[in-house]
Amino acid sequence: MSDLLEALRRSGTSILAVFGLIVFWQAAVVVLQVPTWLLPSPSAIWLAFVKNSYLLGKHVMATGVGATGGLVIGAASGVALAILMVHSRILERVLMPLLVIDQSIPKLALAPIFVIWFGTGMMTRVFIAMVISFFPMVVNAIRGMTTVDPRVNDLMTTIFASRWQILTKVRLPNAVPYLFSGLKIAVPLSIIGAVVAEFMQSDSGLGYVVLVAVGNVNTPMVFVAVVLMALLSLSLFATISVFEWLLMRARFSYLAAESNR
């Protein structure tokens, strides 16, 4: 509990800074008489949010579900591929260049093709979010599974452990902190992926809200949607951080001990 208070006290300055920025923004817009269609004040954005809040729930859900679904599938397939690559020299040699090529392709540029493949519904959203969150998961999973002390492998070898046992008892547990790093990188990417899918063509989601609002020159609404995207990303990130914190405290406190040194 005292940890929480301590954390609050330390984050006090940061909260104050964000609050100060909002106040400055409001004052600047009012004093300089910036027209609302150009840059709405925070209060105008808030009003737009309150007025339309009854509509926004389903759009937040659509984007959130699409991004989360893509993230989960991308993470699972990323880890699965990493496991294959760690266990097979040949697969590693075949797949590594493909992965590098995959990472060099700006996948968002392929979004129109995905729309052709999967239509304008949830599928495209999930697919883009998956494709974009895949790479950081593969890379982190491989690193996590291969940074095992070679002598642990020696130990397992001398007692005739199977590859499956080495995977489940050594490699995967060793990769856990790395997987969380990968997830944290992938979260904002998955939101971007879902929103870009909605930009293409869609009838729901926060990307769709942005398109409609821009069409109506309803700039405050654009900002409402963007703020909601940020909050969505933040809450996904926070959920993962909570799981990470719980696991770290239970099992991986040595990492904290190392970084304190």
Partner: protein, 273 residues
């Protein structure tokens, strides 16, 4: 659920070979590594046998190939020529029969596992039931005097305790052979003395065949029944010295004339190369 379990009676003496028989045998073993500058002869024509329940030290400077010998007995390194056997069988058979326990210089524990879970790791690999594992873990942790620390994590232990844990893990599945690669090399001198005494007690209690790699003369003299002196480039056995010191050993023996004489002999052999 921690009950006071009765330490199971060990009957390995009945089934295993009798004292005096060779457990570990290296015949004409050579190891050549290919490097960029050509071939490196790490070991040349090694003849070595370790008898049942014997404590043998491999003594030599770094680079003499003593760890390579250990690696070959553990089945981690293949000899270029010659044969390595445990109880007359190939190493793979000994691995399958779980006859080899390994102890490393800095314990090499799994940091996300507690003390009891680390000891339990080999037992899980062997497929023991939860109850069987608990019995073994309790007994072996008592043996190395780590009872009361079951739920701690390795980073919460001192260097000496981590090394005890490493030994406990190696003994958990009751292997016949214990291979130790400079296990006390990273400990301070005081802890090292204590651990040496503890190791001899554990060895006598559990009746293992031990091959212990070290570059410390006094450690070798204090612990061993026999000392294999090695020289480097290429790795060769210079000589094998019988250790006449009586058992049980105490730290005070290190001041005895016999101890000092044997130490001098070994030092001269190492300097001769």
């Amino acid at each position: 659920m921690r009950v006071n379990t009765v330490v199971p009676i060990r009957i390995d003496d009945i089934a295993g070979p009798q004292t005096g028989e060779a457990v570990i045998a290296l015949t004409n073993v050579s190891k050549v590594f290919d490097s960029r500058r050509g071939q490196v002869h790490a070991l040349e024509k090694i003849q070595l046998s370790v008898r049942n329940k014997e404590f043998v030290c491999l003594l030599g400077p770094s680079g003499c190939g003593k760890s390579t010998i250990l690696g070959m007995i553990a089945g981690l390194i293949r000899p270029s020529s010659g044969s390595v056997t445990i109880n007359g069988q190939a190493i793979d058979a000994a691995r399958k029969a779980h006859q080899i326990g390994l102890v490393f210089q800095d314990a090499v524990l799994l940091p996300w596992r507690t003390v009891e879970e680390n000891v339990s790791l080999p037992l899980e690999v062997l497929g023991l039931s939860r109850l069987e594992r608990e019995v073994e873990v309790t007994s072996v942790l008592r043996l190395v005097k780590l009872q009361g620390f079951e739920r701690r994590f390795p980073h919460e232990l001192s260097g000496g305790m981590r090394q005890r844990l490493g030994i406990a893990r190696a003994l958990s599945f009751d292997p016949q052979v214990l291979l130790m690669d400079e296990p006390f090399g990273a400990l301070d001198a005081i802890t090292r003395d204590r651990m040496s005494t503890e190791l001899l007690r554990i060895w006598q209690q559990r009746q293992k065949t031990v091959l212990f790699v070290t570059h410390s003369i006094s450690e070798a003299v204090f612990l061993s029944d026999r000392i294999v002196v090695m020289t480097a480039r290429p790795g060769r056995i210079e000589s094998v010295v019988e250790n006449p010191l009586p058992r049980p050993r105490t730290l005070n023996m290190r001041d005895s004339a016999e101890f000092i004489a044997l130490s001098r002999t070994l030092r001269e052999k190492l300097e001769n190369e």
